[in-house]
């Protein structure tokens, strides 16, 4: 009986198996690595229409976040400031600067500056700034070192798992209420922070929700 299959074909099933395994592992690996907000969102730092620098304004000049993001304390939305807020200073500082051309024309015409949104949760979720910042959670925990950023960068994934990580163990993230807007606050030690956190969570009865209907309402 003549040979139908050449000798090398003996290895084919094994080779196919190896190839499929390698491909399978790679695809699973790539999906886990890439199909997550840790990849899709973190690091997003769009070029803004005006080269506004938080490092200069919030860091070097030490302007409080609330000077511009005024309503962060009272509402779910943290307002991006109207042009008039910029003009409080820029009607006298750098009045000839090209970088501020759009700010001046916006102030005169009343057209909004088209700031590019950076952090944007899906619209089936409910998020509220005021409940967080009035209950011991600093901007820093969610937005990172904004006071050092030349361009605001998406620091944290803001996925459901990330929200829950803190909701399950708020004592690791809370800080004294007077330090909420101080991006440079450093606890004396990790230990001291947790102790303070446990006490704060108890005294203030901090109770972050874990039920689905809190965030998906």
């Amino acid at each position: 009986m003549s040979k139908i299959f050449p000798k090398w074909s003996n290895a084919v099933p094994l080779q196919v198996l190896i190839i499929l395994t390698v491909l399978g592992v790679t695809v699973v690996g790539l999906v886990t690595y890439y199909f997550t907000p840790k990849y899709t969102r973190v690091g997003y730092a769009p070029t803004q229409p005006v080269a506004f620098d938080h490092g200069l304004h919030a860091g070097q000049l030490g302007i409080d976040c609330r000077f511009c993001h005024t309503h962060v304390e009272h509402s779910r939305h943290s307002t991006v400031p109207p042009t008039s807020t910029c003009m409080n200073c820029h009607n006298q500082i750098k009045t000839e600067s090209d970088a501020l051309e759009l700010v001046r024309s916006s102030y005169e015409s009343g057209e909004a500056i088209p700031w590019v949104r950076i952090h944007e949760l899906p619209e089936f979720t409910y998020f509220d700034h005021s409940v967080h910042v009035n209950r011991g959670i600093s901007c820093y925990e969610c937005h990172g070192n904004v006071n050092e950023m030349e361009v605001v960068r998406h620091e944290h994934p803001m996925s459901m798992g990330w929200c829950l990580e803190c909701h399950r163990e708020p004592e690791r993230f809370v800080r004294p209420p007077e330090e909420i807007y101080n991006m440079e606050w450093e606890p004396a030690s990790e230990q001291a922070r947790v102790e303070m956190g446990v006490e704060f969570v108890h005294d203030w009865n901090v109770n972050p929700p874990l039920s689905c209907s809190a965030c998906h309402r």
Partner: protein
């Protein structure tokens, strides 16, 4: 087999170099992998609208609207109080405060002053806040004679409406907070001209007087 691995390694490398690593800074908008109900046709604060001519979802307040401040009973009960709301009584600047100034008022005032006034007027009200170094030299010193005599109502109007080169802060400070800030400005002035006799007996030792 070898050919397969060569192609495989090459395409993996190509893919990785296109996709990059997690957390790399980029100005590409985030990819929404399963865009099920991620963006819905509803209006959110400060976003864009195709419907309104000015392209905003936030609508301007119609003229003549009275802000009821439902969240603040103190303010909604005092809608007829001219002193409290405008700083004027019968057209003249009102002297004094339209409420009792408590310790909480002072603390609130200090807090608000540091956020909203300090960067220009300076922590002690001398007009030399951080912006002074950058060319904002027209900010007056609250310790000038004129400001000791200025009625509280006039300061209130300055905060509410702005004056000269200073903008209005009414969108940032509620009516109550504005009065609290004024109380704190008065305290700053008092601290400058105060003498040892103003310090209560019990506190003198602690302050080393």
């Amino acid at each position: 087999m070898r050919i397969f691995f060569a192609i495989f390694a090459f395409s993996l490398l190509a893919l990785l170099s296109i996709l990059g690593f997690r957390g790399a800074t980029s100005d590409r908008p985030p990819i929404e992998i399963f865009p099920d109900m991620v963006r819905q046709s509803k209006y959110k604060a400060q976003s864009h609208s195709e419907f309104f001519e000015d392209g905003r979802t936030d609508r301007p307040v119609p003229p003549g609207t009275v802000h009821r401040q439902y969240d603040n009973p103190q303010e909604s009960e005092r809608l007829d109080d001219d002193h409290f709301n405008t700083g004027r009584v019968n057209g003249d600047y009102a002297e004094g405060f339209p409420m009792v100034v408590t310790r909480e008022t002072m603390e609130r005032g200090r807090d608000r002053y540091r956020i909203f006034c300090g960067s220009c007027h300076g922590g002690i009200g001398d007009g030399q806040g951080i912006t002074f170094e950058y060319g904002m030299v027209t900010v007056p010193d609250f310790h000038a004679e004129r400001f000791y005599d200025m009625a509280e109502g006039e300061i209130f109007e300055t905060i509410t409406e702005g004056r000269g080169l200073m903008g209005s802060y009414k969108d940032k400070l509620s009516v109550e907070d504005r009065w609290a800030v004024i109380a704190y400005v008065r305290a700053l002035q008092r601290a400058r001209v105060g003498t040892e006799a103003d310090v209560p007996e019990a506190e003198r030792e602690r302050l080393g007087l």
